[in-house]
């Protein structure tokens, strides 16, 4: 019984900690530029929280002290606006959505609490990084342990350790519950982006999205892929808002987008490439050249910092699991028939990945629609270009991979498909928003 109450308390804590600093009471001007959506304020707060975690992870600060600092700050904001915030939470507006948000979170939390299994990578890599932070050490101590691959990023593990340490009964899985929470928030963000839908249709959409993207045997067992999935959805939503009318030069929105660009490389190695892609997309927006220049410099510095620490301070052999020597060797021994076999294998496993996570079929339909009917506009071209870059990325890494191709494809391609699938859903959302009344009367 204690455990059940602790899980409910953990959900309340997640909700509280992601309710601030951005909301319609304490920061009404930001709320306005976020399209007056409460479900869009939570992702922005998550991005701010993860950025605080990223900075703290470089210092040996006790996780309880970090929590105390954040919690007390937010508590002060809460008590300052106590009545207004309570009224806002208890408002009848969006009641069904609020109810389902709590219910879905609890269902998934209980499911995780019973199925405690941590997947292979979770046990072999991520939990050791988590233990490092749980025991009060910093990012730099990870390089002394020689247990888990040191070149892997660490922000997901820090988040896991943070909420593990700051839970009522301090069980390991309480940290992983935050991954579930972010996942549910991201699904709500997608569903709420469909403007033509009623509340009931939104709830049915949420149900379908969870059904199509959640892999109950393998979900959130310490893997970081759902974190990337959710963060890319947040970035996608920011792109959608920035590119909509009157928001192109909104510095606040651009800064939130920058936060997502800075955070993503510290979740997983693939995040480095996604971060590059997002910056390329930012260059295509109508923002001023000065902002574009500053943002791209910051993003490159951020990626460079990771590379500098791994390659020059700790002198590890491989930066992103493969070295440039192996790539040069592959070019030297270039063989067209070998390349054709590799490409056919990649197509085969791509198809397998699509069936594993059927959510990808939803965005593929959207992409097919805009390509076939030539509906690539300013709003959806960003997602389409990201899709093309992701295709190049997938084929590139598997063609250049020094590991056994079939093993590499079997173990990773479906997760690569999942990571970005939420991001491309904005194309399907664009189609539904534009022609939704014809398709879903």
């Amino acid at each position: 019984m204690t455990e059940i109450f602790s899980i409910i308390a953990q959900l309340i804590m997640f909700f509280f900690i992601t309710l601030f600093p951005v909301n319609n009471i304490s920061t009404p001007f930001i709320y306005k530029s976020l399209g007056k959506s409460n479900f869009f304020c939570i992702p922005v707060n998550i991005l701010i929280l993860l950025f605080i975690f990223l900075i703290c992870s470089f210092f040996p600060i006790n996780l309880r002290n970090v929590f105390f600092f954040i919690f007390v700050t937010y508590l002060l904001i809460f008590f300052y606006n106590f009545y207004k915030i309570c009224n806002e939470i208890l408002k009848k507006e969006n009641l069904s959505l609020k109810f389902f948000f709590i219910a879905i979170n609890l269902f998934l939390f209980f499911d995780l609490a019973y199925n405690l299994e941590i997947g292979w990578d979770g046990l072999a890599i991520w939990i050791f990084k988590t233990n490092n932070f749980y025991n009060g050490y910093s990012y730099f101590n990870l390089f002394e342990q020689e247990i888990a691959p040191e070149q892997y990023p660490h922000l997901g593990s820090y988040t896991w350790a943070f909420f593990w340490k700051n839970s009522l009964i301090e069980k390991e899985y309480f940290g992983r519950l935050f991954y579930q929470y972010i996942y549910v928030v991201s699904v709500f963000v997608i569903a709420n982006s469909i403007k033509t839908f009623s509340k009931l249709k939104i709830i049915v959409t949420i149900f379908c999205l969870i059904l199509l993207s959640q892999d109950y045997d393998n979900t959130l067992q310490g893997y970081q892929d759902y974190l990337l999935f959710s963060l890319l959805i947040f970035a996608g939503k920011l792109i959608q808002t920035i590119t909509s009318r009157n928001n192109t030069n909104n510095l606040l929105l651009n800064n939130f987008f920058l936060l997502s660009v800075l955070i993503i490389p510290w979740i997983k190695n693939e995040g480095v490439f996604y971060s590059f892609f997002l910056i390329i997309l930012f260059f295509l927006s109508k923002t001023t050249y000065l902002v574009k220049f500053i943002f791209s410099c910051l993003a490159i510095l951020n990626i460079g910092l990771h590379a500098f620490i791994v390659k020059f301070i700790y002198k590890l052999d491989s930066l992103y699991q493969f070295s440039f020597n192996t790539i040069l060797l592959l070019f030297k021994n270039f063989d067209i028939s070998n390349l054709a076999i590799k490409i056919s294998y990649i197509f085969l496993y791509l198809f397998h990945g699509f069936t594993k996570y059927p959510i990808s079929i939803l965005y593929l339909l959207g992409i097919l629609y805009i390509v076939k009917y030539k509906k690539i506009t300013y709003q959806n071209k960003f997602f389409f270009i990201f899709f093309l870059m992701q295709c190049l990325f997938i084929f590139g890494i598997y063609i250049l991979s020094p590991a056994d191709l079939v093993w590499h494809l079997q173990t990773s391609i479906k997760r690569l498909i999942l990571q970005t699938s939420g991001f491309y859903l904005f194309i399907s959302i664009w189609v539904v928003n534009k022609f939704g009344k014809k398709i879903f009367p």
Binding site: M1, E3, I4, I7, S96, F100, A103, I104, F107, L108, F110, D111, A113, Y114, N115, L116, E117, I118, W120, L123, A124, I127, F128, T130, N131, Y134, N135, I147, K171, E172, L200, I203, V204, F207, L211
Partner: protein, 135 residues
């Protein structure tokens, strides 16, 4: 109007019930209520077999109360069990040795792990799992 509202409520209840069955909500709730954390962990990771969570937990609480260093060698291919115990560290001197999934403890089998079994004293054994201490 009332019929339309009722239909809407019925759909909400229907979606809610599908969610509960899809996420095994009632089964999870029942299990959380009746099975403690350690019991659930043993059901997943085994007592002696695979990751052998139960055996290591037992060794930790009975024989390693004042020490936090141990070396765990698993004869089967599994990720290290050490990750599940954040307060345990790798014993580079190999004073405390846990062997998991060893059907026979012959010397040849252990040499590949740089362990000379003659240097150790058996403290506890369950099925294919052993806990040794250096003599």
């Amino acid at each position: 109007m009332i019929a339309k509202k009722n239909r809407k409520i019925n759909i909400y209840i229907f979606v809610f019930l599908i969610f509960t069955t899809n996420t095994h909500f009632f089964n999870d709730l029942y299990n959380l209520f009746y099975r403690y954390y350690d019991e659930r962990m043993i059901r997943i990771y085994g007592n002696c077999g695979g990751i052998s969570y139960g055996f290591i937990k037992k060794i930790k609480s009975n024989f390693l109360q004042f020490e936090n260093k141990v070396i765990i060698i698993n004869n089967d291919i599994f990720p290290s069990s050490l990750g599940l115990f954040p307060d345990l560290l790798v014993d580079k001197e190999k004073n405390n040795l846990i062997l998991l999934n060893f059907t026979d403890l012959n010397k040849k089998n252990l040499i590949k792990y740089s362990v000379n079994i003659d240097d150790y004293k058996l403290i506890h054994n369950e099925d294919k799992c052993y806990f040794f201490r250096k003599k």
